[in-house]
Amino acid sequence: MNWASWGDFWNMGGYGLYVWGSYAVTLVCVFAEVVSVRRQFSGQMVRLLRVRRATVRGAGNETET
């Protein structure tokens, strides 16, 4: 084990700012990218399904009248 305590761990031998600055920004980027691609995909899917529902309803109305 490298660290005697949590304080030791966060301090990173005096390099805490640099090490945690690197890891935190990486985590934020990865998290943001995952959220963004999933949104992009489900956004497209929702849009396509909405368009399809609209056209199906439109076609249904036409046959009724």
Binding site: Y15, V19, Q40, L48
Partner: protein, 268 residues
Amino acid sequence: MPQTDSMNSSVKAVSDKLSAAPGGINWFKYASPQTFYPLAGRLIPLFAWPALLLFAVGLYVSFFVAPTDATQGDSYRIIFIHVPAAWMSMIIYLAMAFWCALGMIFNTRLSFMMSQALAPTGAIWTFLALWTGALWGKPTWGAWWVWDARLTSELILLFLYLGYMALVAAMDDPRRADRAGAVVAIVGAINVPIIYFSVKWWNTLHQGASVSMTSAPKMASIMLMGMLIMALAAWAYSIAVVLVRVRAIMLERERNTDWVAQMLENRP
């Protein structure tokens, strides 16, 4: 559209020839979006879950197993993301150029979609390589940034990614955007060997390659192990994220095709 038909038939002719080879797999089958879309969907969890596991193991090794470095202290722990990020930034750019070249040669629209799905992930890794590099440079070199060959060529890589993305986004006609973007991606690929060999060709502040095929690794094996696990995690993560993005791009660009209509029909 007669133009598209003739393109498809020429692709089909090549694909027939390839699949006629004994034992040959018909790779062109997967060049069609309607085959690739469900395949990509099945592949995503096969990369996403291993990525999560590898990140967890990699982080554990990085902080709890790998010892403090004798000369750099704990600042060296930045290497566990810095090097994988830098590798991914170069590999993804080469993959992008590769898909663009395939697209230009065979006129396969999926190739360009792959390239466009890769670009944002590549740009993020490039940014992270630069960011973690700056945070590592400050305590070890005494400077956030220096204009040396390795750093400057990596910065150019970031601009190439951003330029490619901006160019593709700015053009209304997707087929023209594909081709214009492909020119940038392919010409810009020359920068990748420049980044890689910059530490040999020029006298730079940046250290030489950490891992090379021709010599023994210059770091302790447990540190190397941690770095390789993180690199594998970065690979798996990138593949998963790019596959999700390429599916979104496929839905958008192919929204008026029969296969998308059929796929929506079959949804519960």
